[in-house]
Symmetry: D2
Subunit: 352 residues, 4 copies
């Protein structure tokens, strides 16, 4: 496999740092350039970043000079990962794509753009074809691919087998979200220690909308979104990593009994299982039998943080099925998801 040179936009932020940590020793990708705001530009990364990862800053980036997030300064990369804040991502990402530099973004800005794939390799790898109709660059060499919100990922991963087997009628979900999802400095400790905050600004609309695009069908260069309603309550809990969801699903076709639902989830096979993507989990879904599981502190790191864990599958009298879903919000739900997207894009020949 050829090596690819990657740049990271928003490199000093929490997501940018996670990109750096996860790309350390990546077999295909090498970090060649780091971009951040004008405040950091020109400084060595070790000075510009307030490093918050628990493993030490890799030596390879310490002396790397931080650049402005300007495509003209990124002539030496094959593509960029974007961990940019949404307040600046719209213009910067478009600028890179227009300059012929592919952008694999964790920002929300282009997720709802009808020409931009909102991509989870195990869920909708075919949506990648949307790239071909993007108009950012004249010759199609620059484009944008996004990954979903950190709750939408485990939710959609868990809905996918049910959607395929039974059809989904409606979803009611409560999320118990980790503090790392708010970045750094993020949630003040006085607000969350020994407490629950029953509101996360802007989160519920994303949880309701993104699964519908992810589970949509690509036809004639358009995504026909899935059409079921998702009613969400997003809460913050004092957990470091791992968003946990209490999911309730009403199905279109009724299963004969709840064990049929379990069986569908257990026997589900990832469409990318055989592609040999380095960051793909061996078991993208893990179904726990022990009703105490999954738990974020115990299981968020499973399969290097890329697994979605399911537990407590059971029937109900209002909705047909209830279960717990949980995944690492800053790996599977952010930087790790974007890296897996990049790996699929290599395999499918979009990055070359």
């Amino acid at each position: 496999m050829a090596q690819f040179k990657a740049g990271i936009l928003g490199a000093t932020g929490a997501v940018g740092q996670k990109f750096i940590r996860l790309l350390q020793n990546h077999p295909w990708f090498t970090i060649n350039a780091l971009g951040a705001s004008g405040r950091s530009a020109g400084k060595p990364y070790s000075e510009a970043a307030n490093w918050i990862e628990s493993t030490p800053m890799p030596d390879s980036v310490k002396k790397m000079k931080v650049r402005n997030c300007n495509s003209s300064e990124f002539g030496d990369v094959d593509f960029v990962f974007s961990g940019l804040d949404s307040s600046v991502a719209t213009e910067i990402e478009a600028g890179f794509a227009q300059a012929g530099i592919p952008v694999i973004s964790n920002a929300k800005n282009y997720r709802t753009d009808p020409t931009v794939p909102l991509l989870v390799p195990e869920v909708n790898p075919d949506h990648i074809e949307l790239i071909k109709i993007q108009k950012f660059s004249a010759d199609g060499s620059g484009w944008i691919v996004t990954n979903p919100n950190c709750v939408a990922i485990p939710l959609t991963m868990s809905l996918k087998p049910l959607h395929d087997a039974f059809g989904i009628h409606s979803v009611v979900v409560t999320s118990l979200q980790a503090i790392s999802g708010a970045g750094y400095p993020g949630v003040p400790s006085l607000d969350i220690l020994g407490n629950v905050i029953p509101f996360i600004g802007g989160e519920e609309p994303k949880i309701s909308a993104e699964p519908l695009k992810l589970l949509g069908k690509l036809e004639d260069g358009q995504i026909e979104h899935a059409s079921f309603p998702v009613q969400a309550t997003a809460t913050r809990v004092p957990v470091i990593n791992g968003h946990l969801l209490a999911v309730n699903v009403k199905l279109n076709e009724k299963p004969s009994d709840i064990s049929e639902v379990s069986e569908v989830m257990k026997s589900w096979k990832s469409p990318i299982a055989d592609l040999g993507l380095p960051s793909a989990p061996v078991f993208p879904l893990h179904i726990f039998a022990d009703e105490r599981y999954p738990q974020p502190r115990l299981h968020a790191d499973s399969e290097n943080g890329m697994q979605t864990a399911i537990g407590r599958i059971r029937g109900g009298d209002v909705m047909d099925v209830s279960y717990i879903a949980m995944a690492h919000n800053t790996i599977r739900g952010a930087a790790g998801g974007a890296i897996l997207n990049a790996e699929l894009l290599v395999k499918k020949g979009f990055l070359k």
Copy 2:
């Protein structure tokens, strides 16, 4: 008001200690007797109990000799509060009632007994009349009244105005429950620090069943239970006090818009508001406008822990209404609820 002499069964446990603390300086009730297991019987209370309340053990109980939970040793009380463990409550509580000593119990054992009121004064004060058909004692002098599960209380308090105004079709609820609900020593810190446990044994069936009895109608000496389904997921979070619920409700009659629902909850009037019960909160329901509220650490102690706080009332596409409800689980949801029951029983002449 005459003074009543109360005994406490299970006095050394977490609920028993809460009874002792809440009854300190109570205007109507004086603690006259403490009962616990044979291991504690005969010892002064200060030796028998591992006191876990944050305020000091009241001097009035320190030297009180702990008794066996045997009605023959409780001849000097007008009634007893029971904080007994469910493993022993069935026999002991019946024994007291048979001996003519009223039992006001927090244990779950008789909650589903059709002759025993499951009582929340603000919700179903009329159910108190069931006492008259109880057969524990020949002359009716001994009887049992229970209060509901700590999640069922805030859930039912919040459902009551909706049930009266619109009729409830179905409920989907996720609870985020405090560790104090598990008693002492209860939840090991290694299990819950920085974590969520998505399961609480035996909790969900109570959450589903108890609101139906509470919202039922007493007719001809029988409770006709309400009949909507409640689908519940119970989780444990690292919070000291205060169970928080993410509630979703489908209504029988549709409100014109969501503000009608808010208005119904805000304008709801407690049927016991004018009875002058010492432990009754002035505002049994408080509706927050700030969408960050209620939060357990900030609001569980409101109105001495007897208030149910509501927030984030909003519409939805699957269920008609979503909101947050929260109450102090060991006060409103346990010992404080039982004391309020006793106060109503005094006012209604059942205790005399």
Copy 3:
């Protein structure tokens, strides 16, 4: 007792909010004016402040218009409490004192000024006389009094009886400090949840220096500081309120045995015990016999947060005595301490 009209400087910050909460229903003091930065000035307090106290904002301040911290806007107060940030306190506090408005400050800026009392009423009430030599205002009508750092308070409260009885040779102390000490937003939750931060900027020098002024002798208008060394390590722990100290003390005169030390601490009598100050704790020092105590979550609120709790008094082979001391850092150690200072100043005739 006549009523006094108080202003609060820095009213929107964490300390300012604590002043407002503690002065609610104060028998002597009424809040007449609130001052904050230019960003808040002109707004009603309910808009200007992001209220973080757990009890609701008092109605009396909600509509009060926030003023600039300029003495010319505070003509209608008898004195001001200052919860100003140290970055601005030097000039503003001097300005008020020069304008003849007494300043009772929680800021650190004037604590080391040789003409400014660093005051703990139970420790050095006589230092109040320093006011008479202050030169801020020509006629002496304006002056500044400060209270110490939140660790220095419980440390000095606990050292005072030992200093008087045995003389202190040296102190080695480790503090385990609550997050509320860092204000709001203060410590990011990602830094402190399930963690310890073994450093608090600027804290250790204050812990070493302030007890020496507090235990100093006023002679000829000068404080002769006590002269023992204090070696401190300040750490932050995931606790909401209550700084806990592990104290080790070497004494000048050796006690016959450790019980003599305990006895000295238990029998210590506050010099202001009989003055009837509303905020003075009945027992400024409480000595626990139970070796598990004191604990911040259980005991920080004792005596309305004004008590210093001591436990685990025992001898040692390096230093003569080891013990635990603990007090509420934002009440006893900040706003509550300042209010007690104001009460003493009233009683002694400095406020009139």
Copy 4:
């Protein structure tokens, strides 16, 4: 390297589970036998143990039948690791040693036995020779080696370079200890969430005594203990893993300045650095320059949990040096330390 067959005593407890996890994939040792109490004996391990590690139970032990901790049932092992509770370790460990089965123990029972090495390979590898004078078995084939208390380890690791370079006069230390040190179920969450417990039963005497044996000199088959006093305060904080110590040391020879102390710690070389022991950390001591470090949540896992991290080295006016030390309490401070001991015993020919 030949393979060794290891048994684990106390295999179902917290320390036993840590042994199992750390020995998974060990290059020299294979688990051949698991021993526990009579309650577990006869059951497959997956049934007998309530697995609390965050990584899954290794398949290799799931079906292994748990045995009684009786040497006659352990004929097929080369040696045993003991994670036994101290209430039973005295007899059981002696029984194994008498039967010719070497015991490498984490229990405290034989730590003070003058013939039993209390061993930290980086500190006192020569003490291993004590084995030769042990009398447990007639032919010397059975013997006991212990590792120290989880606080004594990082304390002694940090004192060793100072002891060699300057001589230690006295030590004052406060520990902030993680909850995992109390085993499972261990500390109730109601006791420790948002709190500090300033007492750990039995801990302080071990912290005072064990460093003296570890830093003692072996002469004529006897350990001459080091002789300085250690005054300790042990506290519990809401941290999962990692004991943090605030250490103050008075030295016999005075360093010219504090940088000389830092230099001595940084340049210290482990005596076992070149032995190729699989569990030996490359850097047994790591000295942080950043004064916010070390922190337990960020650094306890460094070098697979086997590193001792040091920070904030600075001078003082009471003791000559203050610093922070931190290590993983259940790896470096327990099971991992015992495994490293076993590796040294292999290398030195005591296990063969």
